[in-house]
Subunit: 127 residues, 2 copies
DNA sequence: GATTAACTGCAACTCAGTTGCATTAATTAA
DNA sequence: TTAATTAATGCAACTGAGTTGCAGTTAATC
């Protein structure tokens, strides 16, 4: 658990996550917050947040980094093993509650798993 | 099905895939083949191979692009929905035969899924 | 209020992947 | 076998996400 000072930049980032149900890409965060802070700062605050279990990160379908706020994580116990869904049309990413079963492989030690579902979200389905 | 001419570069790339059981990252391919061809050529040939169902691509744990030869794919019918395993220690990626069940989400249309398992491979387990 | 260490901005960098364009070479028709 | 066509290639320059070093700033502690 690192020391996180409550700077204006930290508050700004926190409030973005408060307001959002879905995951947000770093690219999007940097763009949204470019008036308020440097992109380096965005990257560094996200690192700290992740270490402290405030957010978790993962890669979207295009290899870009996404962040979402954690529901019940801490710096000791990071449960980000839930699947994510990304919409092909609008690019939106949702965290899914549903568990999934991780296949086992003989003679391998599996430590984590990333599952990304790709398709069309609710809005894009009905358009 | 695009037109694929049998050039020296194409032959060279094909033989790399023939010799390899595991997936190979593009970075690695570019490095291995730098005496034989330009990196742009590597990228372009891989694109063509993928369109023609000769190889399939996916992203590794660090967001880098990996390729592996397909077992039973064609340009019409691309089955690359198998999971992949990447070793944390040595970075190696293996294609897994095991199927996995794709969770369904209400009001969403799921078109594909990427499952990446991360841990330690057989060699790294015994070291 | 002074001290200190965390934090930030900036500029420059790294590195995977892409693009435009001129040149080369594999295929097809003659 | 040669000529014509067009896919394929090399090269250089670019793009864009993410990183790094360092000097300056600011939140927290005493």
């Amino acid at each position: 658990m690192g020391v996180v000072r409550k700077t204006k930049s930290v508050e700004a980032l926190l409030s973005v996550f408060e307001q959002s149900q879905n995951a947000i890409s770093v690219v999007d965060l940097v763009e949204r917050l470019k008036e308020d802070m440097n992109k380096t700062t965005v990257y560094r605050i996200l690192d700290r947040f992740e270490k402290d279990g405030i957010v978790h990160s993962f890669l979207g379908k295009d290899g870009l980094k996404w962040y979402a706020k954690c529901r019940s994580c801490s710096s000791k116990n990071h449960i980000d093993a839930h699947p994510h869904f990304q919409c092909k049309k609008c690019g939106k990413v949702e965290c899914l509650q549903t568990d999934f079963s991780i296949p086992s492989i003989s003679n391998h030690k599996i430590e984590s798993a990333q599952l990304l579902l790709i398709g069309q979200c609710e809005e894009c389905c009905s358009n």
